[in-house]
Subunit: 205 residues, 2 copies
Amino acid sequence: MDTKQKILDEALTLFSEKGYANVFVSEIAERVGIKAPSLYKHYKSKQAIFGAIIEEMHRRFLEQAKHLNIQGNNPIVDAEIYSGLPEEELVRLGINLFLYQLHDDYTRRIRKMLTIEQFHNKDLAIAYMHQYMDDPMFYFTALLKQAVDQGVLQTDNVEVMTLQFYAPFYTLMTVCDRDPEREAESVQILEDHIRQFNKLYGRAV
Amino acid sequence: MDTKQKILDEALTLFSEKGYANVFVSEIAERVGIKAPSLYKHYKSKQAIFGAIIEEMHRRFLEQAKHLNIQGNNPIVDAEIYSGLPEEELVRLGINLFLYQLHDDYTRRIRKMLTIEQFHNKDLAIAYMHQYMDDPMFYFTALLKQAVDQGVLQTDNVEVMTLQFYAPFYTLMTVCDRDPEREAESVQILEDHIRQFNKLYGRAV
DNA sequence: GTCTATAAGAAGATAGAC
DNA sequence: GTCTATCTTCTTATAGAC
């Protein structure tokens, strides 16, 4: 990795652990293996480093949204994986998404940084909300609506159904971000949640 | 309010909006209506102000836990309110708790401050987790278990049932903390959630 | 208890040699 | 591009008068 990218990488790690204001430029430089003044040859200020991280984040989020087809108003759910929506598939999909959010290094650090910085910066609050509320809700609404259309699940209120499906994911994610030791326990209860959800909505309401 | 308490009050407001590191002692003093050096007659340092806020928080949290009987392992749920657990009571209880968390000034500011500072300070992360995960889960488990024992709700997994009940509360609370304009919408979907939850579990699983 | 003046120190950023 | 030396600014905290 070149120095310019390594600066962003180490800065993100530090920002996600301590927050922007508690990280010194000299700390970032030390982790990169250079002295603070050298860092200014790559970025003109500490704020510029932060700005570059946010820019890359927006780029990645947009890329992901494009991939999930949640750009417009007509998400196209992968038919092969979700058609029929057997319970085992739903469980596998859910746990995989959950573990990805927790284990992917970039995703985890960005989420923690946004959590810390969200109240300083309106832009970051919006990004957080999109990434962890609106986009997942939009995606799962499409997924579950398909199951409802196929008669696999039954409800007259897909919005509430989707919230009931997704909220435990979000809640347990914030638990594990704070205390990674609770991951195994969280995965187990999440699996039970998905199976229970599937049973509850697998019959007429 | 005396000056000593007003300092804590204004400091909490600022800390909850910008985080500890981004608040200057002079800012706190200005809001109190004095100059920064005068503030040092009341607290010996900025850190001491923060410490006093945290101390008061622990005191209040403990008081609340005592009141809800979630101190020990045998919570006693108020029989008059919850016995029988008709849907309207469940809805009223849920919405009231939700709006209290959002509207009570002290609660809201403390929660936002903990959200910002939780990754700096292990102690705060634990306090956050207790207050917004473990204690509510414990309390609602007792409440819902009572309903199950009375045959009003049916399940073989009270833990999952409780998570499914509480997670939407927590999730929507974090939404409204970020964007208060979404409160009305959130209250509506939360009401729908409670009614739907009651229907889903009101029959054998 | 509040003020003005100021000390002490930290942290971001620049200058200029190599 | 990296370094050492240094500047500048900002912020916490103290001194001492009132």
